[in-house]
Each structure stands twice: as C-alpha cells, then as structure tokens.
Point group: C2
Chain length 252, copies 2
C-alpha cells in the first residue's frame, strides 16, 4: 500500500458556548457523520471553538481603551477597545501600522493583533482571545477523548497566522498534546548516504495546515481528524518547542 494520509472534516458541531465540553461535542458530531476517532489519529481543533468554550469571547463594551489604544486606532476601522485587548494580550510589539499590530503574545506567538479577531463569533462587539494555555486545552481534549472512547490520539489547537515574506496566512499549531510537534532528521542519512545535518520539520504546523484545507473559514468545519500520519507520541509535548530561540533565529 502506498503511504496515504487523510484529513476528514467534522461537520455538525453546534455553536460552542462558555463551559461547553468541546471533546464531547467533537465526538458526538464525529459519530453523527460516521467518522470513527481511533488511536493514532490526530485531532486538529481550531482555536475559535476552544476560546468560546473557555470563556475567552469578550464583549468590548466591558473594556476601557487606553490613550495608546485610542491613538493607535485613530482613523482605522477597529474599535479602540478591541485594540486595547490586543495590547493587553501582547508582551512585545513587533510593529504597528495602518491599524494592524504585529506582536508577540504572552504565549510567545508572533502574529497579527495578538490572535484576537471577531470572525465566526455571534453578536456585535464581541471578539475572541487566544486560549490562556492552549497546550492545557489540547491536553483536556485528549484526556476526554481517551476517557470517552478509549482512543489515544494526538491533539493540535490551530490558528491562522500570517508570516513574513510570503503572502496570505496558513494554519499553524498553537497548542499540542500527545504528539511530538517537531520531527528531526538530524544525524539520519538520506537515501544516498548523505548525512542530514540540520533538517527539523515542524510537523505540527503541517498537520494544522492540512486540517485548514478541509475546514476552511466559512464552512463551519472547525475540527479535522487526520488519519494515517505516524506521529511520534509524547506525553510531555508543549508549544514551547515550536518557538524559535530569538538568539538562534537568523530568520527574524
């Protein structure tokens, strides 16, 4: 059999509310469409439904904009109270221009507007923040799947990030559980006996990207089950290994 990997979108997940059990909603929807969740699968769960379940959807009515937030937003579409939330979720501002803020979140992610946006949220003036601890979110989902179905899966929490140099955004991993996010070929030989000195692949980001292709932004498919990818199990994986040490980051 040739190698094959499949991504199956999970449809029929209802609008997620604060306090919902995301894992239960995923498993019910998967059953409803006849998709088995099995040991060795990777569940890629988009950040938005996790944030909703964890009460990270905020009404900007409850926020007071600082003078800085007001100044930054001047003349732009965004509400200054939304900008205030972006500043509060950031630990470092990389650049700000034309109302867009590129910052480093307190998790260590570099992205636009601290990962805060208003898409796929019901109601005016509400925005979703990133989960407080997206690895813990992934671990909770993984544990609940294990308890309910007996399946040992990998879980990735994904979000859509832009990047330098290349147009458009791609989905990347912001939280992981049960799988090693990086695959290192260092010290291995290729088929021609050449030593691979430096190749490390961020498979977690590639799995998140694959899931985005089957999910999409308007189709209401917030979860994908990936089957056939032989990931390296890990009980201790976190998103920290996804973050490049600034001192070693020649790309920065």
């Amino acid at each position: 059999m040739p190698p094959e990997i499949r991504a199956i979108g999970i449809e029929g997940i209802p609008e997620v509310r604060d306090g919902d059990d995301v894992a239960a909603l995923i498993m019910t929807a998967a059953r409803g469409q006849g998709t088995a969740i099995e040991t060795g699968d990777v569940l890629v769960v988009t950040q938005k439904i996790v944030s909703k379940a964890e009460g990270r959807v905020i009404s900007i009515e409850s926020v007071e904009a600082s003078p800085l937030a007001i100044a930054i937003t001047e003349g732009h579409r965004r509400d200054p109270r939304h900008t205030e939330l972006i500043l509060r979720e950031s630990r470092r501002i990389v650049r700000m221009d034309r109302g867009v803020i590129i910052s480093e979140t307190y998790h260590g992610f570099h992205c636009a507007n601290a990962g805060i946006d208003a898409s796929n949220i019901p109601g005016e003036g509400t925005v979703a923040l990133l989960p407080v601890d997206s690895d813990a979110s992934a671990r909770r989902i993984r544990q609940a799947v294990k308890e309910e179905s007996g399946a040992t899966v990998g879980v990735i929490i994904s979000d859509t990030f832009g990047r330098p140099w290349r147009n458009g955004a791609t989905d990347v991993a912001i939280g992981v559980a049960g799988l090693e996010p990086m695959l290192s070929y260092v010290g291995q030989e290729d088929t021609h006996g050449n030593m691979m000195y430096t190749t490390v692949i961020c498979v977690a980001d590639e799995l998140a990207a694959m899931a985005e292709l089957v999910g999409g932004k308007v189709a209401n498919v917030p979860v994908a089950v990936i089957k056939g990818y032989p990931f390296e199990p890990s009980e201790t994986a976190t998103h920290d290994s996804l973050l490049r040490d600034p001192d070693k980051d020649l790309f920065r």
Copy 2:
C-alpha cells in the same frame, strides 16, 4: 459525505537524472502502485527531483570561491565553493551568521542558503540549486500529464523552508501551475454574518505542507497526489502572488 482530503505518496520513482521527463516518471510510478491521476488532483513535486531533471545539480569542483565566500565560510563545515553558489543565487542577503546565509533568491524567495543543499543527491561535492523558473517547471509537468493522461491537474513544486519566530521548517510552494495559490475570503461573510475583511489563505503552501507529511525526507517519496481538494483553477497562476510586497509586509 463529510469533507475529506487525501494525500497519497508516489513511491518507486527512480533516481532522476539531467534531462529526464519528470512527469513521465511520476505517471509510470503512480500506475505501478495503482494510483490514478485524475482531473482535480493536485500533484506536489519536491524541488529536488525537478532540479535534477533540469540539470541544476552542480559539482562544486566547477566553482571558484570568491574572497567573500571564503571569508563567510571560514571555520564552518561548508565548502566555500558551496557558499559561492549561494551568493550567486541570491539577490539580497538578509543575514549571515555561523555559516548560515538567509537570503532572497532572484525568484524572490526568502530562505536559508538560497535553497541550495546537498541532501538526496548522489555523489560527493554535488549540490542542487532551485529550478531557474519553478512555475515553468510546474507548467511543463502539468502539460505533460494532460497530454499523457488527459487529466487536468494542479501542480505545485515544493521545497522545505525555515521561517522566523517558529522552530523547524515546513514545505512551501515555490512554483505553481493550474491552480490559484491564494484563497481569499475578503468580502465574504462567515456563518455568523461577520464580514471577513482580511483573510487570505495561502492554500498552495498548505497543500505543500500536507504533501511533506506523506513524503518525508528519507523515505524516497518525492511526489504526492492530493485528492479531494476543490482548488480554484487558474491558467495564469505564478509564484509571484505568494510573495508579500515588501512595502506591505508588516511581518518582516
């Protein structure tokens, strides 16, 4: 039926040599493993076999290192003649440190060492350069598949690039044919009626990433066929739309 996308690795492609017909090798290997190549499929072809077929594998014996190349490489593992090739393939040096050069290639790609490496190449002292025109490479493969099989496919030439801020590398698209590499949601409404103002997804990079998961670096699976992804056909697509305008690149 729930949405499903599959990536099937093509095995049994022989060592590619200068002048080989890559499309013919791919189709023969696909037939050999019982994988049909059909209209609507996306063929993701790794850069290395394309470079080999196009005579872009170079013996560094034939290269004379400049004083700059010698100075840069001083005390590092790489041969200064290899460094010389990196400088020749670059139009802008972003950063150089510890023997690694981050540069912008003349295609406009930002990557380490101008995309030149020695992995998966037979012979000592040989390196592979990126294809001269990777969109033309993709178009040639697409045309040959059409003529031989009648199938209208999308073709992506992929390579493995590092990136700022995040550890590890992922496969991205460096050449495209027959498919629109970017998917824009601008002006569309999400399921809650929120207008999506800015979301543009680089699906070509996500397809390349998906293919990497089934290919890998040491498994000799240099091509993947992706089935089930409803890409937007384009007869005029090029990698140019993948490159962020420096004046608009807040991430840079």
